[in-house]
Amino acid sequence: MKFGVVVFPGSNCDSDCFHVIKDVINEDVEYIWHDSDEKLTGFDCIILPGGFSYGDYLRAGAIARFSRVMPRIEEFAQNGGLVIGICNGFQILTESHLLPGALIRNKNLKFICSDQYVKVVNTNTPFTNLYKEGEVINLPIAHGEGNYVVDDETLKQMIQNQQIVLQYCDKYGNVNDETNPNGSILNIAGICNKEKNVFGLMPHPERSSEKILGCEDGKRVFLSIVNYLKSR
């Protein structure tokens, strides 16, 4: 089982993801430079990590979306490969239309860096199958543009197809305006595509995958991927 972590200029959570895959869940992992045009053979899951700067001048993820590796990732996803985009990775996935919608500036205009309760509303995905439905977990968020927007018609389809995977909430699982840190429509923190093999989320599961970091609620995202791949 092999993971690939794409490195864009400006990625800063690439090492964290690499470390979690290699040292925490003990799977094979390799970095992939964003300018690589090589076919993504031999990989089971590609991670687009969080970070900054690359394309932020225009829109977060807008320039990264045209990196040479992106057509390869699109091809990989179309063939059923698993792709997970975390924070800036999520922004890149919406910019490249691998996921619907877009991410705009946080409602309060502040860069938010804090722990956040998140509800797992769909466990029927390769990325969340080891959580309990409705389970409240604690994941760190760190973003300035995490306010998820999408048109009404697409949102309706997303609800029908159960594409909403994570929602911001409080520790009791209440999902409302008071428990919404950035203004996301329906408190959306993470979504997947119709086929469920592409997942994007603003919170950072890789930063909460070890007890030494205070919480390991995020680890099950990566273990879910392994679980899914093993049972396939």
Binding site: L58, A62, T94, E95, A102, I104, D151
Partner: protein, 82 residues
């Protein structure tokens, strides 16, 4: 040489947090008749091109491909001789 002035702005249906912050600030300065503020981007592209029609086509493509995200934004542009 042609100069394309491109305006990219959020669709009407999308909320605009920076616009709301500026609106509130204008109101606090006493401009109480300001009803709405929308913030956008102003991008200038200089083209080594004399054919305006050709430039229009190119700028449209630039907007649709990179400068504007059609999911949340709209655009308009003017082309003039520099």
């Amino acid at each position: 040489m042609l100069k394309a002035e491109i305006f990219v702005y959020l669709k009407k249906s999308i909320s605009d947090p920076p616009g709301i912050a500026v609106l509130n600030s204008l109101k606090s300065l006493g401009f109480n008749n300001v009803e709405k503020v929308r913030m956008g981007k102003y991008i200038v592209v200089y083209l080594n091109e004399n054919d305006i029609e050709k430039a229009e086509e190119q700028v449209k493509l630039m907007c649709e491909k990179l400068l504007c995200n059609p999911v949340m934004e709209e655009y308009k542009f003017n082309i003039s001789e520099e």
